[in-house]
């Protein structure tokens, strides 16, 4: 059954800048981030495969954050932006859904090296705690005083859970967060997932990043006097079944089913779709089936934009970053890589998890964007 959810706040820390405005401007420019081959951990610098580091990132987290782990600092900075935009004052019943696939591996790498190379004696508790995959979300709940339900996901779109909480009346306001920071080992290991194109380019390029959104029931937003900038109309997913789930490999049928389900859930026709925010990351086995699926459902008339060109492959953060990019495209009434878009009433935002799950989120522009 259709139920709209209001997006009332957004935040981003990324390779395209660390404010929504900066990211919006670079998206508009079709900007491509600068690669780095060095990864700094504490005082040490490691040589790594090329990736997109965060641009102008925060050196420290918001006041009150009880960790110096960069993963959590970036997450907190993004959530702080989103809460500020949403003008949330009472956090006592605000829920939190957080997603990451790789997790705080920079801290994890430090913990494992310490335990395995020097033994467990004299280990610092914070070294262990910072390595736990759920701990960044816990820090967010503590920092912002979020006392509602809290789910921490791995490889699942945060809107998937948020939507059900709203439908079941579990929460009326939910903070969504997603972050990937990587580590020297994680970046090196990611080579297994990369492919080299005939032109000698290697894809995907990992991008460090953190995205955040505040979503609310329409009634809650109205009570607070807010006109939503964008609404979420559908969250549909499909999983692949037969393939070994270790690569950027998508089947067009799977993507097509998810897109059609999203349209059905949103009670929308194909004619209403004015923009598709693709999950393409430069790997042909992902990009080509997705394009094929979009073509099958929407033909060639709909502009397609590629946020990963500007942010890199942010893995677990890509679902939120994609939706955020689409809200920016809708707000500006034009797609970053397209011209003459007119007034797009509905955007489809695709996302893909390397394990073989494909999401299609349908969002609609709100009055505030005008």
């Amino acid at each position: 059954m259709k139920q709209s959810i209001a997006i009332t706040g957004r935040g981003i820390v990324s390779a395209a800048g660390c404010t929504v405005e900066a990211a919006a401007e670079r998206l508009r420019q079709g900007w491509i981030p600068q690669e780095s081959r060095q990864f700094r951990v504490g005082g040490e610098c490691y040589d790594v495969s090329p990736y997109y580091p965060i641009l102008d990132g925060p050196a420290v987290g918001p006041k009150g954050l009880r960790t110096s782990d960069p993963f959590t600092i970036n997450s907190a900075a993004a959530v702080a932006q989103a809460l500020q935009e949403a003008r949330i004052e009472d956090m006592s019943d605000v829920g939190l859904v957080f997603n990451t696939v790789v997790g705080p591996v920079e801290a994890g790498q430090g913990f494992f090296e310490r335990v395995l190379l020097r033994g467990p004696v004299g280990l610092s508790p914070s070294l262990f705690l910072d390595s736990l995959i759920n701990m960044p979300a816990a820090h967010l709940s503590m920092l912002f005083g979020l006392h509602g339900s809290m789910s921490v996901l791995s490889g699942t779109h945060p809107l998937e859970i948020a939507r059900h909480w709203v439908r079941c009346a579990r929460e009326r306001t939910i903070v969504l967060g997603a972050t990937e920071q990587f580590s020297p080992l994680a970046i090196d290991a990611s080579e297994a997932y990369q492919v080299e194109t005939p032109g000698g380019e290697v894809w995907p390029k990992l991008g460090q990043g953190s995205g955040a959104m505040v979503v609310e029931t329409m009634s809650r937003a109205a009570e607070r006097g807010l006109v939503p900038m964008t609404t979420v109309e559908a969250v549909a997913s499909e999983a692949m079944g037969a393939e070994e789930p270790t690569r950027w490999v998508l089947q067009a049928d799977v993507a097509e089913r998810a897109i059609r389900r999203a349209l059905k859930q949103a009670s929308a026709s194909t004619e209403e779709v004015a923009l598709v925010c693709s999950c393409a990351n430069g790997v042909p086995t992902l990009d080509e089936p997705e394009a094929e699926a979009i073509w099958r459902v929407l033909s060639e008339r709909v502009p397609i934009v590629y946020p990963k060109r500007t942010f890199g492959e942010t893995v677990g953060a890509s679902g939120i970053v994609g939706v955020l990019s689409a809200t920016l495209a809708l707000a500006n009434w034009e797609a970053p890589s397209s011209k003459g878009l007119g007034e797009p009433p509905l955007a489809l935002v695709n996302d893909f998890d390397v394990g073989g799950q494909f999401w299609c989120v349908a969002i609609r522009a709100g009055e505030r964007t005008k």
Binding site: V102, L116, P120, L123, I133, M142, S154, T156, E191, Q357
Partner: protein, 405 residues
């Protein structure tokens, strides 16, 4: 159908459990688990299956490799999958689901991923030799389990510490109750490793000798490994295929302490809120609960806070409700404990039997009159049970289960 008790958008459906499966330190299946609980045994002993050099606390509850049987997965480097697969298969078999393509959702709770593989590849001798990092993440376990079982439905992976697998069950409950799915497989898996023991020990959270929940002399938790799953199904769907429900899930509640990474708010506000929300979601009064399966880790903080929260929610009635801590028998399976202990509640309802709290000699001051089902389990009339799960970072989830009508 009935209206959502907490004011949700539309009509909701009954959700039942029609299959259970487990691989636990009691043995390779639900029957071994049932027997171990009934006999009041403890599976906790000195670790044997992995390196424990330098560890202060090394009493754990392990799964024997021989119980895994033939597996397409490596019993060490892919241990989560190796444990999860037979437990999931048993669950599907018990639910009489021969065609896994019927399953709309696979939801898994796992807090740490394939940690033994990570340990293996983090040492200098093997650094960087593995080029499959995603094979070790919790999400990859869900994906590979789904592919191996032939499940084509939605996959959800929860990693919120010790409530992860309870959250997996809760999410499937929502999807089925709201009519978005008919049938789901949900559960959790977690394994023992040297680094996880070392980490928990830095927090002084582990007991070197006995696991003694709710005892004044409690020293901490003892970790374990396990896999446990349930099949959730709409009552209508179960009826349509003549599958007898084992129990019903009536509701759940979640909350966040937002207080401290490892310590709980002294008033137990987070656990209180989770229990109150669960009762409201199930449309039940506190006096209708017949048994509370405590999170009961035997850590200094958790047990006291949990009892404070129970007292607040249930008042004087709390003294009449049996409360027990299965971790005294099976240890703390972290990301898997929510599903494992949900399954224990299912077995309690099915057998009208209360599992015991072991090693409890001197209850906490102010809570001496509570019924902890000490030392030996017993039969009881059970209609509704409450299953608490709390986790590091201040996450709380309480599930309400019931005998099927």
């Amino acid at each position: 159908m009935r209206c959502h008790p907490s004011g949700g958008e539309n009509k909701v459906r009954k959700v039942v459990i029609t299959g259970v499966g487990a691989l636990t330190p009691f043995g390779p299946g639900v029957e071994d688990l049932r027997r171990g609980l009934r006999e009041g045994r403890s599976a906790l002993r000195q670790a044997r299956g992995f390196d424990i050099a330098g560890l202060r606390a090394s009493v754990v509850a392990e799964v024997e490799d021989s119980w895994i049987g033939e597996s397409p997965f490596d019993k060490d480097l892919e241990r989560c999958l190796a444990l999860a697969l037979p437990a999931a298969k048993e669950t599907l078999h018990q639910a009489d689901l021969s065609d896994p393509t019927d399953i709309a959702v696979l939801a898994l709770g796992n807090a740490a991923g394939e940690l033994r593989a990570l340990e293996h590849y983090m040492v200098p001798e093997t650094w960087g030799r593995d080029k499959e990092p995603n094979l070790r993440s919790p999400a990859s376990i869900t994906d590979r389990l789904g592919v191996t079982l032939g499940i084509r439905g939605k996959r959800l992976t929860f990693v919120n510490a010790c409530i992860a697998s309870a959250n997996a069950i809760a999410a499937c409950f929502d999807l089925i109750r709201m009519g978005e799915a008919e049938i789901a497989l949900a559960g959790g898996v977690e394994i023992l490793t040297k680094s996880s023991l070392a980490g928990f020990d830095t927090l002084h959270a582990l007991a070197p000798r006995l696991c003694r929940p709710f005892d004044q002399a409690r020293e901490g938790a003892q970790l374990s490994e396990a896999a446990a799953f349930v099949v959730l199904e709409s009552k209508d769907h179960a009826d349509s295929r003549h599958q007898q429900p084992i129990c019903e899930i009536c509701g759940y509640g979640m909350s966040s302490d937002a207080y401290h990474p490892t310590r709980s708010d002294p008033e137990g506000l987070g656990p209180r809120k989770a229990m109150e929300r669960a009762l409201a979601d199930a449309n039940l009064r506190p006096d209708q609960i017949d048994y509370i399966k405590a999170h009961g880790t035997a850590t200094f903080q958790n047990d006291l806070i949990e009892l404070v929260a129970i007292r607040h929610v249930f008042g004087e009635q709390a003294k009449k409700i049996p409360i027990s801590a299965p971790k005294s028998q099976l240890g703390h399976a972290t990301g898997a404990c929510g599903a494992l202990e949900c399954l224990i509640c299912v077995l309690a309802l099915e057998g009208q039997f209360l599992p015991p709290t072991l090693n409890l000699e001197t209850p906490l001051p102010g809570f001496e009159d509570y019924d902890y089902v000490r030392e030996a389990g017993r039969t009881a009339d059970l209609r509704y049970v409450l299953a608490n799960s709390f986790g590091f970072g201040g996450v709380n989830l309480a599930l309400v289960l019931a005998q099927p009508n």
